[in-house]
């Protein structure tokens, strides 16, 4: 039973990786990366049951957390070209070239 689920998840991971490689736009790739993270979390849990050592579930929980934060960080970076301070400057755009506002004012 767990072997079936592991094989199915592995096939799904390979197919999603194909979409991640071939995605025509950035958003296809981000979507496929997020789905790949979900597949990986479930695969780690199934693998723990398959080897009768379900201690990997901590790693799966950690991977789920990092996957969500990483997806949001990638989206934020490609929207604002900066991960840190993206509060709008007076002209309505975020700070230029990813610099913080006061650094941009000095140069």
């Amino acid at each position: 039973m767990f072997a079936t689920a592991a094989v199915a998840l592995f096939i799904g991971m390979v197919i999603v990786l194909a979409r991640l490689y071939a995605g025509p736009t950035l958003y296809d790739r981000v979507l496929a990366g997020n789905a790949f993270g979900t597949y990986t979390v479930l695969f780690i849990g199934i693998l723990g049951f398959l080897t009768e050592r379900p201690d990997f579930l901590d790693i799966a929980l950690l991977y789920a957390l990092i996957n969500f934060v990483g997806t949001i960080a990638i989206l934020k970076y490609f929207r604002y070209r900066a991960i840190g301070d993206t509060s709008p400057t007076p002209n309505g755009m975020p700070a230029e070239n990813g610099r913080l506002k006061d650094q941009g004012a000095k140069s």
Partner: protein, 132 residues
């Protein structure tokens, strides 16, 4: 007790097999669908149905132990963050002017009303334009 074992076995079997089927179906849809927006729909199948069924099956197999507590935590977390992340990706795509095929509508950005013409997002049409 034998009947209880049967019930536990059958429910966990059924949910794990159904969850695996949903995961494979969602992956095939992610690869085969022609459009970004329909791929969002395919990924949401794996995020909700497949993940919940697989986690439920593993919880039934785990019994009343710490493993089940961790699995419930993983399930709750993925159930919240999966659709949130998918919505964030779709929202970022929409804000960047990446409209579905055939969609032509005004997007109110600030005070200006600007009409964004739809871009062709299918895989089949883009190479023909690139060849020309």
């Amino acid at each position: 007790m034998i009947a209880l074992d049967w019930i536990v076995g059958i429910t966990s079997w059924a949910s794990i097999i159904a969850g695996s089927a949903f995961m494979v179906i969602g992956a095939i849809g992610t690869l085969r669908f022609p459009d970004f927006w329909s791929r969002v729909h395919a990924v949401s199948v794996t995020d909700s149905a497949g993940m919940l069924l697989l986690t439920l099956g593993m919880c039934i197999q785990g019994g009343f132990t710490l493993i089940t507590v961790k699995l419930v935590l993983i399930g709750i977390f993925l159930f919240i963050t999966g659709p949130t992340a998918t919505h964030a990706v779709a929202n970022a795509a929409l804000v960047s002017g990446f409209l579905p095929r055939g969609a032509d509508r005004t997007i109110v950005s600030g005070e200006k009303k600007e009409i964004i013409k739809p871009k062709a997002t299918s895989r089949k049409r883009k190479p023909s334009k690139a060849k020309k």
